[in-house]
């Protein structure tokens, strides 16, 4: 089916905006879910040379279908290299070879500290979330961290319930850490970056969204860039790729 670019979902906007952030990047550590779609969309649009790294052990994947998970056999067949997880974390991530890594988040604070462990207390959680997976070490070692997540007052919080993956802490990362930390956050409302003091600000706003709407969906007083610009809506090409190739069943995009 051919897409009508006037009609698209919040998730389609979020994923298209994420994919565009990958322009000019080379080596990308891909997470499960929306990051997976965004990276594969970027390879078909802004960054054909993007090398995909999956924590399951793959460098240079060439998937012939959208991988259902980060451990899909289509990521193996035809890849450049498949190795042990220990080597992916040691020789690629910890060695500093990852330019950008995509993370999801259940909660994030203004410094980009991320919680994917629990809502509530750790010992008797209200909601037990999946935990770190590779996110903790990715957030410390990847050169730049991109976060992609839905935005509500329950996800953009004054203080996260648990720091699974450290961001800019309370404004400054120790120099000895390999990676630069969170660089951009993409939600259904806009695109956020971080100031020199490690605090998040609204950099781009998606079509039809207002600053008031952003504030209403943020648990702190969100800074707004004086150069705030509008995101372009998803293009017909982007929508066609998402709808027909990358997520035909609409699991992540609708």
């Amino acid at each position: 089916m051919s897409a009508n670019p006037a009609e698209y979902s919040v998730n389609e906007m979020m994923i298209a905006a994420s994919a565009r952030q990958l322009e000019g990047e080379r080596v990308c550590f891909v997470g499960i879910g929306p990051p997976n779609i965004a990276c594969n969309l970027a390879r078909r649009t802004v960054t054909p040379a993007l090398e995909l790294v999956y924590e399951a052990g793959v460098y240079g994947a060439d998937p012939q279908r959208l991988p259902l998970s980060i451990g899909d056999p289509t990521l193996v067949t035809g890849a450049v290299s498949v190795t042990s997880m220990f080597e992916i974390f040691s020789f690629y991530l910890q060695r500093g070879l990852i330019d950008v890594a995509f993370l999801g988040a259940s909660q994030i604070d203004r410094f980009g500290n991320i919680n994917t462990t629990v809502v509530g207390g750790y010992d008797k959680p209200k909601v037990r979330l999946p935990g770190s997976g590779g996110a903790c070490e990715i957030s410390i070692n990847a050169n730049r961290v991109f976060v992609i997540m839905p935005q509500t007052r329950r996800s953009f919080v004054e203080e996260v319930d648990f720091v699974t993956s450290p961001g800019h802490l309370a404004g400054k990362r120790p120099a000895e850490w390999l990676g630069g930390g969170p660089y951009v956050v993409v939600t259904g409302l806009g695109v956020y970056r971080f100031g020199d003091d490690g605090v998040m600000y609204l950099s781009r706003m998606h079509p039809g969204v207002t600053v008031e709407q952003v504030q209403a969906n943020t648990g702190w007083d969100m800074r707004v860039s004086p150069d705030l610009v509008a995101t372009d809506p998803p293009s017909e090409l982007e929508l066609n790729l998402m709808r027909n190739e990358l997520d035909p069943e609409g699991v992540y995009t609708r």
Binding site: D72, T77, V82, T117, G134, E137, T164
Partner: protein, 313 residues
């Protein structure tokens, strides 16, 4: 007791391997990162009513949701808890969030921490250093994750302790009767989990002649030296997958979600698919052949390499 050496090598049945090598209270790892997860071994442990196990896995998957629902475990050592690509493991969440029907102790790491633990265990090291955990809350809830100064005065790293399971169960594509194994595709931490364990059960898609293994020694991920029992059980990973043999059955993962949410449905599922069947062959017979048509990939062979024959000159 049928495990051990001899002319038939270490080949035995899943029933006997689990009966002989899984003891109540053991620390058991069934590894395989999305790939080569041996569901059939988990089902046999459930059937034999093992209790009080400490289950280790980087990614407790649907198989651990089933095992923990069936009451075999009192503790879980892990790094990512979920039904990949689908959502939550609800039986495990009930035990963690509401102690329903009983508490479940958690010992939690990140992925790199877990693979480093297996690697330390496989390497005979008292700890493995890694660059992770700085300013994370994980060390606060897990005192085994400790900060460590570099002896060269160039900052700190974190350490994790070795993980040496009493038993690791690893699924592989090819094994010979002595337990020498070829694995391809995602390697996960199969090798590290095998070398780290005190006992190892290898389950294979195909039992092959040792000559096949020796034709490509660089492909041998696990040597029979560390293996105690070999079980030939094709398709034992369903709904997980075996590269080149069958695909992940995603429909099963999606279908598990509503079952897992409802304890009555989950019990009925266990009754129908585990307790009500004697072996994995029965499971395959009950499944029928339709799914396998859908799940079996076209062939895509590796280019061979030439090792050369080096005989007396």
């Amino acid at each position: 007791m049928s495990v051990g050496g001899g002319a038939g090598g270490k080949v035995t049945t899943m029933h006997d391997a689990v009966a002989d090598l899984v003891k109540d209270g053991d620390t058991v790892a069934i590894e395989g990162f999305t790939h080569l997860i041996c569901f059939a071994a988990g089902h046999e442990i459930i059937r034999q009513g093992k209790r009080d196990l400490t289950l280790c896995r980087m990614t407790p998957d649907v198989i651990y949701d089933q095992m923990i629902a069936a009451g075999v475990a009192s503790k879980l050592v892990f790094s990512w808890l979920g039904n990949p690509g689908v959502g939550s493991l609800h039986a495990i969440r009930r035990r963690v969030e509401r102690s329903d029907p009983a508490p479940l102790e958690l010992e939690e790491y990140s992925h790199f921490g877990m693979v480093s633990r297996y690697t330390a265990g496989a390497s005979g090291l008292p700890f493995m250093p890694l660059r992770s955990y700085h300013s994370s809350d994980l060390p606060k809830v897990n005192p085994r994750i400790v900060e460590l100064e570099s002896p060269y005065g160039d900052g700190t790293v974190y350490a994790v302790p070795p993980l040496n399971p009493d038993l690791s169960i690893v699924h592989v594509q090819r094994a010979d009767k002595d337990g020498n194994c070829h694995v391809w595709g995602f390697l996960g931490c199969q090798k590290e989990a095998a070398f780290a364990a005190r006992k190892v059960i290898v389950v294979c898609e195909e039992l092959v002649n040792g000559r096949v293994i020796r034709s490509d020694p660089n492909r041998t991920i696990i040597p029979g030296l560390v293996v105690d029992a070999v079980v030939a059980e094709p398709r034992a990973c369903h709904p997980s997958f075996a590269q080149g043999y069958y695909d992940r059955d995603n429909r099963f993962y999606v279908a598990w979600d509503p079952i897992s949410r409802d304890p009555a449905k989950l019990d009925a599922w266990l009754e129908e698919w585990v307790y009500g069947l004697a072996t994995h062959n029965d499971y395959l017979a009950k499944m029928g052949t339709e799914a396998w048509d859908r799940l079996t990939p076209e062939q895509c062979l590796s280019e061979p390499v030439d090792y050369g024959a080096y005989s007396p000159g």
